[in-house]
Symmetry: C2
DNA sequence: CGGGTATTTGACGACTGTCAACGCCAGTGG
DNA sequence: CCACTGGCGTTGACAGTCGTCAAATACCCG
């Protein structure tokens, strides 16, 4: 998750130095937008941030929900244009550091290079899982899967309260993530609630029947575990 | 594209050593399958290879068409299970090398580490573009975009003959890549042919009207160029 | 309490999927 | 040389998931 966790002390100190500081991003504020030139990368310390791309006609596709500990803004070229936008859903705290430092780190700290490599491949696998879902699953499967995924990612961060998590995103966010309209997303959510699989209200999501929800979603927990426990 | 191109001589020699050899993969043969343990990574020298994931119900989603020069099999964990399958569409030539060597390279050759980092972010951007397409574009846009993308990727490899490329994939491949059924893919292709935008027959794709096809696809060439010209 | 945002529903339409059949073409074997 | 066969491409009719439009309701924050 975090890029700078299990490295030796000298490296850790070094990375501290590289950090150009923490940054509080208010809800709804953009951290960066597609097309801007990209000077910094970020670690998300607290909050929910959506990474998305949008089309000329206004439609948007959420690429990823970034949760605390996640790493943002790894664009192809340093100072090249950002390839997607990042917007805070809740007030968020990020730690920014210049991308030039990243280059230095790759040079001088092979362990960080390896760790970054691992993060990349893991993110790629998640993106591909997402692709599979949008391309080949039904609306119900996609939404159930997303809920399961978010629940477990929060739980792995120690941020679940039993079978409940704080859930600050709107149905429009869900719709934009799974490639459906808000209206249809709403219908599916109602369906899942009527079936007593979930309950969501006032910024909270409760998984009422994890087993059945997992079946609906064709969710395999080992995928999430694999990805997040080093 | 290729991982080992613009590095200095010493490093290049070293990578030669690391290669455990070339490998000819017959058409339709799998290079590896999802779930197998992953010992090697590959560079594709010649041929078309599809990377895909599939569901229990048999539906498949093509994640990427790998073209000559592309790099395959960068899975999260060395010796961990492969997260997708790779199958040769045409007879293909790949160069395999053990993933342990990759780890060594990250340690000892920072330029390769940086290059690998760049490849990862670029692949990620392509995957996200793909996600945007499947999630938010119409059938016609998706297919037109795919054709444009494949044409330009081939052209950048010097493998286009004017406005024509060899095109060894079936309509089922296209369908599995853009998240549609074969039947509907066929209808859209016919529509594009009737509009005299493309012509495809016998393993060849011809772009008859690149400008209009690009408009239908909302295709921006700078995306492809950015990705492939270092 | 008021105004804006988010959720919810219904009716309707359309894009895409399903089912089924046929044609085309290349390779194979008699 | 010509049937035979299997894979792929092509079409039509029909069904269904999902999108669009519109309006009402609920919720949050100042």
């Amino acid at each position: 998750m975090a890029l700078f966790e299990p490295v030796d002390h000298e490296q850790l100190e070094w990375t501290q130095k590289a950090r150009s500081g923490q940054l509080v991003v208010p809800s709804r504020r953009h951290l960066y937008r597609e097309g801007e030139s990209s000077n910094d990368a970020y670690t998300l310390f607290d909050g929910w941030v959506i990474l998305y791309r949008s089309l000329a006609n206004g439609k948007a596709q959420i690429l990823r929900f970034a949760l605390p500990g996640d790493f943002l803004a790894l664009h192809p070229d340093q100072n090249g244009p950002r390839t997607h936008s990042a917007q805070a859903v809740t007030e968020s705290v990020v730690c920014a550091f210049p991308r030039t430092e990243l280059v230095d780190m790759l040079h001088n700290h092979p362990k960080i290079a390896m760790r970054l490599n691992w993060i990349h491949t893991r993110d790629m696998t998640m993106c591909q899982e997402h692709l599979l879902g949008i391309g080949r699953k039904s609306a119900e499967e996609r939404i159930a899967f997303l809920l399961m995924e978010l629940f477990h990612r929060m739980r792995l961060r120690g941020r679940a309260n039993g079978n409940q998590i704080v859930f600050p995103i709107t149905q429009e966010h869900i719709a934009d993530a799974v490639g459906l309209t808000v209206v249809h997303t709403n219908r599916i959510l109602r369906q899942l609630r009527d079936a007593l699989l979930i309950d969501c209200a006032r910024q909270r999501l409760t998984i009422l029947d994890e087993k059945r929800l997992g079946e609906v979603a064709h969710f395999r927990i080992d995928m999430v575990e694999m990805r997040h426990l080093i």
